[in-house]
Structure formats: C-alpha cells, structure tokens
C-alpha cells in the first residue's frame, strides 16, 4: 500500500468517525430515553447501554391514566386545528402578498416577519388578558389561537416565497379560462403547492405539539392539558420521587407520531424547503 492509498484510507476512516460522533450526539439522548422507558423502576438507576429485558410497565402505567390519554387527544385536536387554520390563512395571505400588487406589500411582509421575532414570554401576559376576555381560558381554543399567532408568520413567509415562484403565466392562463382568484388558488395553485404546504404544515404541527409555555399558562385542569404539560406534571409516589420511567415512556409515546410524520413527508420537506432557494 503506498502513501496515497494510506491517506485516502485515513480520510475515509476520519469521515466515518466524524459521522459516528454526530450520530451519537444527536441520537443518544433519545435512545437513552427509549431504553429507560422500557426498564422496570427497580433497575432505573443502573447505567446500561443495552436492554437486558423488556418491561412495558411504564407504558401500561401512563396509558391507564385517564388524564394522559385525554392530554394526547387535546394535543391532537389543538395541533391539527392550528395546522388547518394556519394553512388556510397562510395560503390566502400568500396569494395576496405574493401575487396581488398593492401599496405597502413589503411593509406588511416585514411586519409579519417582525412579529415572529418576539419571544413568547414577551407577549405572555398580554395574550393572557386577550384569552381571558375572549373566554378561552382553560380551553383548547385559547391554545389554538395563541399557537396560530406564532405559526402564521412563518407559514405566510414560506408560502409567499413559494407562491411568487409559480409562473405568472399560469395565473394568467387561469384568468383567460375565466377563473376567479378563489378558483385559481384552489384549483390551480393548491395542487402545485403541496410540497410547501406539507413542509409548513408539518413544522406548524411540531411547534404546536411541543409547545409548553402557553399550554402551561392557559390551562388549569387536567382535562384541558396538552401532552408536554401533562408529562411535566406526572408525579411519583412521594414528593421526593421523580417517576423517570413513566416520564420517559410518555415522552417516547408523544415523539413517535412526529418521527413517523417526518418520515412520511421527508422528501416533501426537503423539496419544500429548498424550493425557495433554487429555481427548479
């Protein structure tokens, strides 16, 4: 083996070593959570990296708790509603911002972008008053409203960029065929915007599904909570015991739907996110 081949081999090994480091860094916490959730509580504090036996006790434990099942249902309701509302408003807004020439269009876009820069905490107290006065406190409606506020700017921006890329002549062809703006959006643009819709929809879903601060602040009773809050409030037998097993089981349970969704839409996400960048 000569020198060049050695260097080549070393480079190759180095590359895979780097990949391995990144993979471990990214995946290990989740992996350890899965492992922990599948251990009986007696073995919880023994450090091992492989499973010696399977124990579904933690899963049985959380799924027999009515409040947790209820929380999953609440999370699904809230997330899907947020995705639906954000996409509906996003698509119509992006048509206006992307296609209709009007004065102050850039200003509107910048304001929308600016709004999305605010940290959640900054608007928390104000939003609390709004939700109280709308009678949405301790109600999934309050969460849907507040999540939509934070999801919409992103949705509008991505969809607007995408909408601008659709050829102008396509819209004009629809106009010549006698289509109203609404028909143009639904019959011509929507089918073409699938990748962008999948991307933004999924990101909106993830954001709503994982949101913690608003969910904690705007709900009061177990029956109205969403999953992240429910997990945080899982309590053990005594004040001094943190029930790691059930907490991990619950975390894994609520993460799996996201992983599955991402897998399904993976290709769409990639094409959707790059759609704005390069002319395709």
């Amino acid at each position: 083996m000569n020198q060049y081949q050695l260097i080549k081999l070393a480079k190759r090994v180095g590359l895979y070593a780097l990949i391995a480091v990144v993979m471990v860094y990214a995946i290990f916490p989740f992996y350890y959570a899965v492992i922990t959730s599948l251990k009986p509580s007696s073995e919880l504090f023994r450090v091992d990296f492989w499973l010696s036996s399977l124990d579904f006790g933690n899963y049985v434990h959380i799924f027999t708790q009515k409040s947790f099942v209820r929380a999953i249902f609440n999370s699904i309701l809230v997330s899907i509603s947020v995705v639906f509302i954000a996409l509906l408003l996003g698509v119509t807004a992006s048509y206006a911002l992307g296609r209709v020439r009007f004065r102050g269009r850039t200003t509107v876009m910048l304001v929308v972008l600016g709004v999305s820069m605010f940290p959640q905490v900054a608007v928390l107290s104000g939003l609390f008053e709004v939700i109280r006065s709308l009678n949405l406190y301790n109600n999934p409606g309050g969460l849907i409203l507040s999540y939509t506020i934070f999801t919409l700017p992103f949705t509008v921006w991505v969809l607007t960029t995408f909408m601008r890329q659709l050829p102008m002549e396509l819209e004009e062809a629809a106009i010549m065929d006698g289509a109203t703006p609404w028909v143009t959006i639904t019959k011509v643009f929507l089918p073409l915007m699938w990748p962008a819709m999948a991307t933004t929809g999924l990101l909106a879903f993830i954001a709503a599904w994982n949101e913690f601060l608003f969910a904690l602040t705007f709900t009061l009773t177990d029956s109205q909570r969403t999953v992240p809050v429910a997990i945080a409030l899982i309590s053990g037998g005594s004040q001094h015991e943190l029930p790691w097993g059930p907490i991990m089981a619950a975390s894994v349970t609520v993460t799996v739907p996201l992983v599955v969704l991402v897998m399904i839409f993976q290709r769409r996400i990639v094409s959707g996110l790059t759609a704005g960048a390069v002319k395709g």
């Binding site: 062809a173 010549m176 065929d177 289509a179 028909v183 019959k187 073409l192």
Partner: protein, 368 residues
C-alpha cells in the same frame, strides 16, 4: 370569429408610457402579427386586447362591442402563452376542459368540444397524459387546444414558438398557418422574429417604442418600407444603409452622391428636400452586384459566409461600422481581402430622408 378595432389606445405603467395612440383594425378572419424589437410594447398591446392589462385611454372593440372594461372571460378571447402555462397537475383533457368547466358548460358539450379540438390538433392519443410527459411541440399544441376549446372569437398568441428549437419552430409555424387556413378564425400573433411575421401574417404591424411604425402585408413591408426602421427590421440579412447627399431632385426623380458609389440617378421624388440634404440610401443584400474595383468604388471584403445555396459577402463600409452585406447564389469567386466595386440595382434602391422616412418613388417611373 370577430374583428378587433383599436382606437387611440394608450397604456401607462406608473410613469412610463408604454403604448402611445395605437390605431388598428383587425378584420374578421385575418391573421395579424405584431412584430418589433423587445420592449416595443407588442406583448403589452396583446395583453390589452386579452384583458390582462387595463387600458389607460382609448377604445377597444371586439366585433361591435366596446370591451375596455370587460374581464377576459367575457371578451371571448383565447390566449396561447410563450411558456405554454399548462396546468401541470391536470391531464391534457382536463387542461382543455378547464375553461369550459368554469363556464358551467354541460358535460356532454365539454366532451364534444374537447374531442373536436383534439382531433384538429392531433392530440387524441395524448388526452390522458400530463404536460410533463409531452414534448415541446406537443405542449405547444395542447396550449393552442386549451385556447381553442372554448371557441373564442379571437385567438391570441404571445411568442408561442420562441421556446422551441429551430426545426420544430419551422414545423409549428407551418401548423399554425394551416390551422388558420382551416379554421379561418381571427388571430393576433406577437413575435420578435421577422421570419415568423413574414411567413404567417396577412397583415404585419411593426411596433417601435409603443407606436405603430407601419401596417401592411408582408409584401408591402418588404417592398415599400415606410421608414428606415421597418426597412432594417424586415428582411434577413438586413438592408444595407449608406449615407448619401442629394445633388438635385424634382418630383420626377433625383440624383444623389454616396461615398464610394459615386453619383446615382434614382426614381424617388425628392420634393421638399433641399439639394445638399443628408439622406440615407438603403439597398437589400440581393440588390447589390459586385464588380472589379474601379477608382473610388472600392470596398474591402471582410468576410465571406458560404451557406450552401447562397453566399453572403461582408464588406467594409465607407462610413459607420456596420458591415455591408451582399447576397448571391453559390458558388462565389470572391475572397476575403479582395477589393470590389458595389453596383446597386437602381430600381430597388430605397431612399430615406433626414427623419428616416422613406421617399416615395415618383409616379411617372412607377408606371413604367
């Protein structure tokens, strides 16, 4: 089928005046081509007729009806776009049926019309394909089919062939010409390619900076260009222009002196021109003859292009930097670097005044 009449049409975008006082009438069943360099407003004019742009001033009539404020769908126009703009997610059939569906046409009628259109354009085999599975020429035909399916009174084409490669362009040009012949419908066609304009049009409208420069049949535009601009735009290779000075002239004819060519007696009437006035001589490449160089009439050959059937000889001009072109049947005995004399065919020489307007040929010699 309908006629189109434009009266003093104006279009202003912000502070730019794109279309300036355009008057034009397109007869029933006529094939009219708008031609001009990019930015001359030809596409805008077409879009004004289509209703995709609003008219700033003037009156647009389709048939007897003033349509200034009608939306496109109520004008009864169909349009073929440069990029085809087919709906990518619909099949060929759905593409053609879309407009009819929106017009709430009965299902049987839609089917009947789409099938009839498909038959005319030979699209029957392709009805269930998506646009991405079609070749450029096929997409082009679908775009025409979509415009035709609603049976519009006028068909508009916006540079429909510029996305095709050269051989396909010639083929589609032929198909459009035959289509017009068969359907006899009114068509307005925009192109920057003067060959397309010459081959397709019943009537050519040459536009320049938002104004109509000249309207006429291809024959008229080629034989009697009204301005230097039209003369240079129509015809390929382009007309040769040389500065000339008027020696004396009358209503019956004139004599001019051009550098290199010497004194020429021309049939143009130069009424109203003073002797000594600066004129421009225009000669088409096929109306020049080359001879052995003689005295001042001596031009150097800069390049020779052999095209198989004909030969272009490029010559260094006496003034300006645009090479003069001579066209003749192949073969040619002229070589690069040789010096030759130019002999224009005096019956086919054009003369333009200081404002680039063509001087008319005197009546007497026209009769002869």
């Amino acid at each position: 089928m309908a006629s189109v009449t434009l009266e003093k049409i104006n279009k202003v975008f912000g502070s730019t005046h794109i279309i300036k006082d355009v008057d034009l009438s397109v007869g029933e069943g006529e094939f009219v081509v708008f031609v001009g360099p990019s930015g001359c407003g030809k596409s805008t004019l077409l879009r004004l007729i289509a209703g995709l742009e609003s008219i700033t001033g003037g009156e647009l009539r389709i048939g007897e009806q003033v349509v200034n404020d009608l939306p496109p769908r109520e004008r009864g126009v169909g349009m073929v776009f440069q990029s085809y703009a087919l709906y990518p997610h619909m099949t060929v059939y759905e593409n053609m049926a879309f407009g009819l569906k929106l017009a709430k046409t009965a299902k049987e009628t839609i089917e009947e019309r789409v099938m009839a259109t498909a038959r005319i354009l030979q699209l029957e085999e392709l009805l269930h394909r998506k646009p991405k599975e079609l070749s450029g020429g096929q997409r082009q035909r679908v775009a025409m089919g979509r415009a035709m399916a609603r049976e519009p009174r006028i068909l508009l084409f916006d540079e429909p062939l510029s996305n095709l490669d050269a051989s396909l362009r010639v083929q589609m040009r032929n198909e459009i010409a035959r289509l017009h012949h068969r359907l006899g419908s009114t068509m307005v066609y925009v192109t920057h390619d003067q060959v397309e304009a010459m081959t397709l049009a019943d009537k050519i409208v040459v536009l320049r900076d938002g104004r109509v420069e000249q309207v006429g049949s291809p024959h008229t535009l080629y034989q009697q260009p009204a301005t230097k601009f039209v003369a240079g735009f129509i015809g390929s290779p382009t007309m040769n222009f040389m500065p000339a000075e008027l020696i004396d002239g009358s209503a019956e004819g004139c004599r001019v002196r051009a550098p290199g060519l010497g004194e020429l007696a021309l049939p143009q009437s130069t009424d109203g021109q003073r002797s000594g006035a600066g004129l421009t001589l225009g000669v088409r490449p096929e109306h020049l003859r080359l001879a052995e160089a003689e005295g001042d009439n001596s031009f150097e050959i800069a390049n020779v292009e052999y095209l198989g059937n004909e030969v272009y000889v490029y010559l260094e001009p006496k003034a300006g930097d645009t090479l003069l072109i001579h066209r003749s049947e192949a073969p040619s005995r002229w070589k690069i670097g040789q010096r030759v004399a130019l002999v224009p065919d005096l019956d086919h020489v054009h003369l333009f005044d200081g404002d680039d307007k063509a001087l008319a040929i005197a009546k007497q010699s026209q009769a002869a």
